[in-house]
Amino acid sequence: MLLNGIKKKSRLLSDRMCFIWVCIFSALTAVPLLAILGEVFVRGCTQFSWDFITDPTPTALKAMMAMRAGEAIPGGIANGIVGSLIMLGMAAVVAVPVGILCGVYLAENGKTRFAVIVSYLSDLLQGTPSVIIGMITYVWVVVPMRGYSAIAGSVALFIMMLPLIIRSTEETMKILPSSLKEAGLALGGNNARVMLKVQLPAAFGGIFTGVLLAVSRVVGETAPLIFTALGCSMVRWDIDKPIAAVPLLIWEFFNDPNLQELIWGASLFLLMFVLCLNITAKYLAKKWK
């Protein structure tokens, strides 16, 4: 009985310890988030201004002169913002319809062997390291076009977005009540009509959320752009020439000691953009459900 009492105490103690371990270590995971957000905000805010968004990146020489003179580095990341938007736009224009159609195909034919294989391959593509996407786009686009370009960059982003959109479309379509489709068919619509007029509009919220998440996932990607878009210090609208992107600029600033001061402003911009998209998407997802 005494032994039992000791045993009971130690069991209750280890139960307590387990709970404390869970609470403390869970709380600790918030530390890096706060540390990263804090550092980027505090160091980025000092550079952030309207000019920072509307001016292109200064040349290294200009930056050096400014530093010598003890002034703040002039210029900003307008070229990167424009480049990112161009490439994201081009990638999304192709990836959204193709991804939705493919997702619909998977939702409709989920059990066939071909659909299962496509589904696995889509997961595989989603898990493929982004640097390899960059590499393959280099081989496929940059080499034949004899040069880096916005097109190449958007192809890389397209390949990264596609599986994300497919997955979210498929999942949204699958949770739609089958009565919706049956009701449409019962009214005499054919499959195509019911899909386009009834099912897809009903799934719009879920798919839109998926697209937003896909964009937020790829907007910060750096590795696939290094060997495709390369970067450029001017604001540029040509899609067959090298172009800048915000994450590429951060990478440039990181490697160029003269421009290092600009890192935090650019990071703040990127982080805010990604997190806003992310939070909006999650909010919409909740509302939609």
């Binding site: 869970s26 600790l28 159609l101 493919c102 659909a115 640097v131 393959i136 990127l270």
Partner: protein
Amino acid sequence: MPLLTMAWQLTKLMTMNDKIFKAILFVAALVIPLICGGVIYSLTIDASDAFNRFGFFEFLTSSDWDYTIDNERYGALPFIAGTLLTTLLALLFCIPFSLPVSLFIGEYFKGRKIAELLGVVIDLLAGIPSIIYGLWGFYTLRPLIVALDISPQGSGILTAALVLAIMIVPYAASLSAEFIKMVPNEIKESAYSLGATRAEVIRDIVFPVAGSGIFSSYILAIGRALGETMTVTMLIGNTNQLPQSLTATGNTMASIIANQFGEADGLRFSALIAIGLLLFLITAIINVIGKFLIKRARIM
């Protein structure tokens, strides 16, 4: 009569329309296999130079990385070793955090506001771009490691693995939490009714029942860590030798590509493509196994 023919024609058109619609869907679905097949085909073609020159197994086991003209020799071993070391180390650092988080969300505070809050924290962590993790690691963690006298230059396998661990916690934790949540309440209550404490129920019931799901979450987390590029490139020190210790500098398969692919041509280009092919195959295998296990665990 004309009404009937019209109706008949309309039906015909619609079925035709349906067929066209199906064909379009099929073509869209073909894009994915085409891309995947294309990736393997192109990488294999371009990697063949390096494999032919050095031999497949020699390429894998050689630790030379020399691109001086006329003396080019390439081997993938340092990068394979670097990738495995950073990934395993990251996993090791990740588990003591991701496991409590998944228990917090999936068991202790299941369905409560505070669990939702932690879920948001985890989501936000997962949303931060990897280049920003790299910056934070470089400007905050690296000086700390120097100050603690762990390694003189601060960058290296350990530093990269630490940041990598933070990056994969959200993936491992949120997926494991999903499986922990799925353990039926009735089964847990039966265990409690036999006099078990909560910790004992977690150890003897929750973990075994959700085990395969938790295991597959970690497999997928490994898949992410293997291919993570920018963070590692910024923190690992970028040296091309076989790492001698955990605090030594090195390179992973992804980081050597990020570092050198832009300036590479000829044999070095082929060797880098070969490393890319290897990395692609490794992550593909890991991901397919992970997804397969997850699908099976979800059914059970």
